[in-house]
């Protein structure tokens, strides 16, 4: 079962990366701004990873046993999650002020944040064996994405019908 998660996760991530880059290449998205943003996001994500390592070390000193595999999973989540969120936020900052692009980027960012929270609550649920954590996280995450979606649609409509 673990192999399914490990290999399936990796296959999904790699195919997502491949198709994402192909789509971006088609609209000339792999340009210097893209490189700049994702390089900066990776650098920011290392700060979050360092904090996560430190927190895990403190937990170990306090004798709160987090086993090796969950700890590595948490580090992976924090690193990749903060990388994605930081990249999304930097991109949103770059295009803020533009009604169409700003809304789209904000929506994408909300989806990334939603997925990160979902995985986070999934890990907490798996660690505690209480699936209510995951269940109760669904509604706020779904609401957040819907709010961002409504905002994006509103901005798009506003940009189409100038006052």
């Amino acid at each position: 079962m673990e192999y399914v998660g490990l290999l399936g996760g990796m296959a999904l991530a790699l195919s997502g990366l491949y198709f994402g880059r192909r789509a971006a290449k088609n609209r000339q998205g792999l340009d210097e701004l893209h490189e700049h943003i994702w390089r900066k996001a990776r650098s920011i994500s290392w700060y979050f990873t360092l904090v996560a390592i430190y927190v895990l070390l403190i937990l170990s000193v306090l004798d709160v046993g987090v086993r090796l595999i969950p700890a590595l999973g948490i580090l992976l989540l924090v690193h990749l999650g903060s990388w994605g969120v930081a990249g999304g936020m930097l991109m949103a900052k770059m295009v803020e002020g533009d009604p169409g692009e700003g809304g789209k980027t904000q929506l994408l960012l909300s989806i990334i944040i939603g997925i990160v929270f979902l995985i986070g609550f999934g890990i907490v649920s798996a660690l505690t064996g209480n699936w209510k954590f995951l269940l109760f996280s669904l509604f706020p995450i779904f609401t957040m994405i819907m709010v961002f979606y409504a905002q994006a649609m509103f901005r798009k409509r506003q940009s189409r019908d100038p006052q």
Partner: protein, 67 residues
């Protein structure tokens, strides 16, 4: 760094999309550069200036920060 890209685009009747295609970047990059959120590389600045048949100094205006 200030720039006159929006003004020059209007002068040439060019959309952000057209300029982006011309210089080989995404529309988001043009938005970021126009809004002065991102300073392009020398190479990209040269391509932008060349599109408008201007020199880099005519498109990008260096402003020293107040110290």
């Amino acid at each position: 760094m200030r720039n006159r890209i929006r003004e020059l685009r209007a002068e040439y009747g060019m959309t952000q999309d057209q300029l982006a295609k011309e210089i080989g970047v995404s529309r988001q990059s043009v938005i970021a550069i126009e809004n002065m959120k991102y300073n392009p590389s020398l190479e990209l600045a040269y391509k932008i200036a060349k599109t408008f048949r201007k020199t880099i100094e005519e498109v990008f205006i260096f402003e020293e920060e107040n110290r």
